[in-house]
Amino acid sequence: MASGLIGRLVGTKPSRLTTAARLIPARWTSTGAEAETKASSGGGRESKLKNFQIYRWNPDNPGKPELQNYQIDLKDCGPMVLDALIKIKNEMDPSLTFRRSCREGICGSCAMNIDGCNGLACLTKIQDGASETTITPLPHMFVIKDLVVDMTNFYNQYKSIEPWLKRKTPPSVPGKEILQSKKDRAKLDGMYECILCACCSTSCPSYWWNPESYLGPAALLHANRWISDSRDEYTKERLEAIDDEFKLYRCHTILNCARACPKGLNPGKQITHIKQLQR
């Protein structure tokens, strides 16, 4: 599974900084822009402009939602879409609204639709080239403002599968952990990493057409995580709870979920596992 950690060469960075720092004071008398262009290594500093079309809708001034265009110099901006959004919010339009938190792909706040594919803004690199990037909120979700969507239905579905350990018998050693073999723990790999970003559920056409009745790939992935947990004793009841025409069987193995997951998980595979257990 992709771990999302990027190694950095720490050695090269400090030396570049010191040479630049030495050059700029010498050219302090000239205009700032000139100094910048001459201080950078290599030839002249051309700006690499890129257009971003971002979905805007304001509930305070409600009209029709629109795609607003922003132009950014990629040389002056970090590599990820989230860097571009923050730059736009800081320098060009402070009213742009979006969710963000960890900036490293672990919290799942910045999930949005970038160029037609669902993903995390902090993990999606800005595509090089002159083409426009279109950023819209997660598809088929109610919009609260700009790129912020209403996730309450998604969270309620997660809550409905009772994502906690349920036992009938007390643990074998009272007050201590319930032991689990390495093999049983390995069964949970591919499910515990889910960050509930909603990229998979909002990419599933079946979820678009039945958002209230179908649980969606994320909730079903977590349902399988608790069903497969060897420490949980309510497996039969959990399976019966989702053994429903709509809750589980709206899945037609479209597998958009596996494509969309920014953490590299496969909810479709877990749903197939649940279906096999249902007998």
């Binding site: 305070d60 409600p62 939602p65 609260i144 309450t152």
Partner: protein, 90 residues
């Protein structure tokens, strides 16, 4: 031939209004009047200002109202209050 048929959305708005008034009934008398006043001014203001065809905004207000109603229904909540904010040009 009688009153015109109400659309589904209009029925939702009315049932939300009814829900608020019913929730207000369960609160103490003074707060009840305040809740009814706030809710009725809000609904009347929106019914005049909001365009009938602006479905996205009406649905947004309905969802917002439903969430506020769920909060109000809880027995811990005692009353509603309202503050007027002058909207700045964004």
């Amino acid at each position: 031939m009688g009153a015109s048929k109400l659309s589904g959305m209009q029925k939702q708005v009315l049932s939300l209004y009814r829900g608020f008034l019913r929730a207000a009934r369960s609160k103490p008398t003074e707060d009840r009047k305040r809740i009814e006043m706030i809710v009725s001014t809000e609904f009347r203001h929106n019914s005049k200002e909001v365009d009938r065809k602006n479905f996205q905004y009406i649905e947004y207000l309905l969802r917002l109202g439903t969430k506020q109603l769920d909060q109000l229904k809880s027995p811990d909540i005692v009353s509603l209050s309202s503050v007027k904010v002058v909207a700045s040009k964004t």
